[in-house]
């Protein structure tokens, strides 16, 4: 993992060729397949341009962290990956976003189909007002799985993977709302992986948790990396260094003339490089300023 990452940096710095075949051929030189390609993406909420001109790849079976000040568009970009922004009236994505070579915003692409492959965990744990079992079984059920034995198996497997099974195996019928914050968040992770997604997006999944629960979720993220590609927004830079392979730093571009604030992607690369040898002075200021 460590060594080939260098190639990726040079590759991302150089101009991307727009043809799909190039992406496929490039695979052999990179640590993983680029599962997402983001090219010159700007995202609007109505007339307001929230982020401008973002380009970056996301690699398979890696943890990519989005860091940066609040309002720099991290969540906005993250939610573009599984088309959650579609749910916001007036939200619009400009530019090119591909998922495994396919245009995510293509005309015939269904947002629900996208979300079944690309799951999401939110900042505030949001278990449904149902039993623990039904929370986890929700996704498989909407995918048409009705067989009780099969569902039991999926629920157990997902809860085990989310490191929650031992704590809840004797009270699966209890409401998901009765869990502690950290447990509820792990339940939400179990719920997300129960549909066997390809990618898991996480928007500050630990920011509402206490330090111990946070470490438990971080351990879990490292575990999940074996099977999933993870993109995580985090406020906490130590967290980014602890769990991510690659980091993207976002910042706010303030235009005092028009009084607008737009998010930009300042730089991205292997986490170690971003924190120890940032190319951009803004990144430098951010990572040193916050880390002390």
């Amino acid at each position: 993992m460590e060594q080939p990452e260098q190639d990726v940096v040079t590759q991302t710095v150089s101009t991307h060729l727009p043809k799909l075949e190039t992406t496929v051929r490039a695979t052999s030189q990179t640590p993983g397949t680029a599962i997402f390609e983001v090219k010159n993406v700007s995202i609007y909420y109505g007339a307001f341009k929230a982020v401008t001109d973002v380009s970056l790849p996301i690699y398979e079976n890696e943890v990519t962290a989005f860091i940066g000040s609040s309002g720099s568009g991290k969540s906005t970009v993250l939610r573009a990956f599984n088309r959650m922004n579609d749910l916001v009236q007036g939200a619009r994505v400009d530019g090119e976003m591909t998922y495994r070579g396919a245009d995510l915003y293509g005309k015939d692409v269904s947002a629900t189909a996208v979300r079944r492959r690309i799951g999401m965990v939110f900042q505030k744990p949001n278990p449904f007002p149902k039993s623990i079992y039904d929370n986890v079984a929700y996704g498989p059920r909407i995918n048409g799985i009705r067989n009780k034995a099969r569902l039991d198996e999926i629920v157990e497997k997902s809860l085990r993977r989310a490191a929650l099974w031992d704590e809840v195996k004797n009270r699966l019928k209890q409401s998901g709302l009765a869990l502690s914050g950290g447990q509820a968040q792990r339940l939400c992770i179990a719920r997300t992986i129960a549909v066997e997604p390809d990618v898991v997006l996480m928007d500050e999944p630990a920011s509402a948790l206490d330090p111990i629960a946070t470490l438990a979720v971080e351990d879990l993220i490292r575990e999940l990396k074996q099977n999933y590609t993870i993109v995580i927004v985090t406020h906490n830079m130590q967290q980014a260094t602890r769990i991510s392979d690659r980091t993207a730093f976002f910042s706010v571009l303030t235009d005092s003339k028009n009084d607008t604030r737009t998010g930009v992607l300042v730089e991205h690369g292997p986490t170690q490089q971003i924190f120890e040898d940032p190319r951009d002075s803004r990144t430098q200021a951010y990572v040193t300023g916050r880390m002390g």
Binding site: R115, G119, F122, N126, P127, F128, Y138, G139, I142
Partner: protein, 334 residues
């Protein structure tokens, strides 16, 4: 405070007066008014219950339990059994709920989750307008327009279509071979349903609006379609609240008088056939109280009022309890 205190330095205010700064007159007057009117409402309620019960004792003592709850209503022969009216009220209420509940549910889901906000608002205005249509207008419309139409265009066809089908035939088939009537249990239930749909819809919408956006996003993020999201999130969250809203609607429907007096056909009958005339408690009170000047007749009608009063109070209290429990459950989850 300022005006009263500053008036006279000569006033011996006393050392303690500063602890009791006089609140503005309007404030105190309002508090008193609120307290008095609250008490007044309670007193009036109790007085109604007590005096009504007193005036109806003759009925209960003369007829006894079996007489009161018999189906024999024949004032000229001093038979005052209330059962057919209780039955009529129960049946129209059930029909009203059975129609209003899914209708209100559908409309509120549509308005809250499907229709874009800028179109939803005008629809809400129209529905709310329905709520202010006076009930006598509903009754007149039901009598003059709805009944003739149902009697000629709808009921006969429905009745002959289901005539020999198990259960359906008993409910919607013609009575005694070919008899259906526009003025009937079913029409009463339908018109009551139209009357309570606005209030039930508006309460249901409020309940659904409390479903956390985060929960909805959670479902969508798992690849749920809008319908799957509604079934998996909006529904379990608001189910009991909507049941409560419907029960509140039921409380209204049960006591509603003019509609049942005009569109049900005013015939004390107990039958499963819904396309035949029936009679509900408020209907018989309104129609016959004018003639019931004396004795047990009068006491029986007043007694029926007491029964109805008790019934609506029970339904309303149940509804409030259900709504409150739902609200607590949702707050607990927040």
């Amino acid at each position: 405070m300022s005006a009263t205190v500053q008036t006279g330095p000569a006033t011996p205010a006393g050392p303690v007066s500063g602890l009791w700064p006089r609140r503005p007159l309007g404030d105190r007057a309002f508090q008193l008014l609120a307290l008095l009117s609250g008490l007044l409402v309670l007193v009036i309620l109790v007085l109604i219950a007590v005096t009504m019960s007193q005036q109806s004792t003759q009925w209960f003592t003369t007829a006894g339990w079996s007489g009161v709850f018999s189906a024999d209503w024949d004032p000229t022969n001093n038979k005052f059994g209330a059962m057919s009216f209780v039955y009529g009220t129960a049946v129209v209420s059930v029909i009203a709920i059975a129609v209003a509940y899914p209708l209100s549910m559908g409309v509120s889901l549509l308005l809250n989750e499907v229709v874009p906000r800028r179109w939803a608002q005008p629809i809400v205005y129209v529905i709310d307008l329905l709520a202010v249509v006076p009930s006598v207008v509903w009754g007149l419309w039901g009598f003059a327009v709805f009944i003739p139409w149902l009697q000629t265009t709808i009921y006969p066809h429905v009745a002959s279509a289901v005539n020999h089908i198990w259960i359906l035939g008993n409910l919607f088939g013609p009575l005694n071979g070919n008899y259906v009537s526009g003025a009937s249990f079913f029409t009463g239930g339908l018109v009551l349903a139209f009357m309570i749909v606005p209030i039930v819809t508006s309460l249901s919408r409020e309940v659904m609006a409390t479903v956390p956006g985060a929960d909805k996003e959670g479902a969508y993020a798992l690849g749920a379609t809008r319908w799957e999201m509604i079934r998996g999130v909006v529904w379990p969250h608001s189910q009991t609240g909507i049941v409560g809203a419907t029960l509140l609607g039921l409380g209204r429907a049960m006591g509603e008088t003019i509609v049942v007096a005009l569109v049900m056909g005013s015939s004390p009958t107990i039958t499963s056939h819904l396309f035949t005339p029936g009679y509900a408690m408020p209907g018989v009170i309104a129609n016959q109280f004018g003639e019931a000047t004396v004795g047990e007749f009068r006491a029986a009608l007043i007694g029926m009022g007491v029964l109805l009063f008790a019934l609506t109070i029970v339904v309303n209290l149940t509804a409030r309890a259900v709504v409150e429990r739902n609200a607590r459950r949702i707050r607990g989850s927040a």
